[in-house]
């Protein structure tokens, strides 16, 4: 028995065994393609996180994807007004499974200081969120911590979770259909 990045593997003479979903999850977690949905000051902090000082590329996130079709992780950084909410939901719906959501900062997580008629009081009212990063705005270290927590989720997620009844039910609560789950059953 051995370990690659805390995944159990069995080592033998000239081969190494693990289960397929663990191998896939490991590969996925090391090449998450993020889609930054940045609207305000949290977005600026996220830009610093992407920049050379904090260098998000170290975590296999070299490529920011500006199309939802080709991204795995939706990073929502900033205030989302109620008028913008349907746009955000559409972007989430257009992402292919499997997909994760990182909510960066107080506004995206809870509306923050903007307790007002025009601001969505947390993006989890319209889409499911995997990891919340607190802060107003959070420092790049905190955003990296959130990303690493996403990696942990990705690494330990069974391949079939996205086809499960529970997952369908979760998205059903948000009135979102599981789109391409049947394709690779």
């Amino acid at each position: 028995m051995g370990k690659i990045e805390d995944l159990e593997v069995i080592n033998g003479e000239g081969y190494q065994l693990t289960t397929l979903d663990k191998a896939v999850a490991l590969a996925r977690s090391n090449s998450v393609w993020p889609l930054p949905f940045a609207t305000s000051c949290c977005g600026i902090e996220f830009m610093a996180t992407m920049g050379s000082t904090y260098d998000l590329s170290r975590f296999g996130m070299e490529r920011m994807s500006f199309t939802p079709r080709q991204s795995d992780l939706l990073i929502v950084a900033g205030t989302i007004s109620k008028k913008l909410a349907p746009v955000l939901k559409k972007v989430y719906e257009q992402m292919a499974e499997p997909k994760w959501v990182l909510s960066v900062g107080a506004c995206a997580s809870s509306g923050g200081i903007f307790d007002t008629y025009s601001v969505l009081q947390g993006i989890d009212r319209i889409i499911p969120v995997d990891v919340y990063v607190p802060g107003c705005p959070p420092r790049p270290e905190q955003i990296i911590d959130g990303v690493i927590n996403i990696h942990k989720l990705v690494k330990h997620e069974p391949m079939r979770r996205r086809y499960s009844e529970e997952y369908r039910h979760l998205l059903g609560d948000y009135e979102i259909e599981v789109t391409n789950a049947d394709n690779d059953k």
Binding site: S81, S110, D115, T116, Y117
Partner: protein, 165 residues
């Protein structure tokens, strides 16, 4: 041109259209009736000497306690030629408030009137597209009217004691 000389010229030009006037924060403010507002602004724009040809702002104020004068529409005009500003106020009742649109005079009035409609519910007659501009289309009220709360009404996790309410 000073505020006082401006007021004299305005009296000559508009006569009894001016209901009241005062100087607030160094700017002359005149009040006109809603029916005369369009004509007065048109005359101010077309007058060769005064030449108030720039519409700086259209806004509104809600005074819930002033009966039949609850909604005040405010126009800020600027005369480049004389380097002077003028504010024009006109008061509307709260039930079905409507006033003639300035879009035939100033193209820039288009979005400003939509914004004023969005937040105060004032209808601008003759506006080419009297719809909301900033708030979401599904919103069913006009949020700057004072009977509505500023806060989001759907939140349940806030303890009012900690927010001074």
């Amino acid at each position: 041109m000073t505020n006082n000389t401006l007021l004299e010229s305005l009296h000559t030009l508009l006569g009894t259209k001016i209901v009241a006037s005062e100087i607030l924060h160094d700017t002359l403010v005149i009040e006109v009736t809603p029916n005369e507002a369009f004509n007065a602004i048109q005359m101010l724009k077309n007058d060769a000497d005064l030449s108030f040809n720039f519409l700086t702002l259209i806004g509104a104020v809600h005074y819930p306690d002033e009966k039949d004068r609850e909604l005040c529409v405010v126009y800020h005009l600027h005369s480049w030629k004389n380097a002077i500003r003028l504010r024009i106020k006109t008061y509307l009742p709260k039930d079905n408030p409507s006033i003639k649109s300035l879009t035939p005079l100033f193209d820039g009035a288009n979005w400003q009137e939509r914004e004023t409609f969005d937040f105060f519910g004032i209808q601008f007659e003759g506006h080419p597209n009297m719809t909301r501009i900033l708030n979401m289309d599904e919103m069913d009220y006009h949020p700057m009217l004072k009977q509505y709360h500023l806060e989001d009404e759907t939140r349940e996790d806030k303890d009012d004691r900690f927010f001074g309410r």
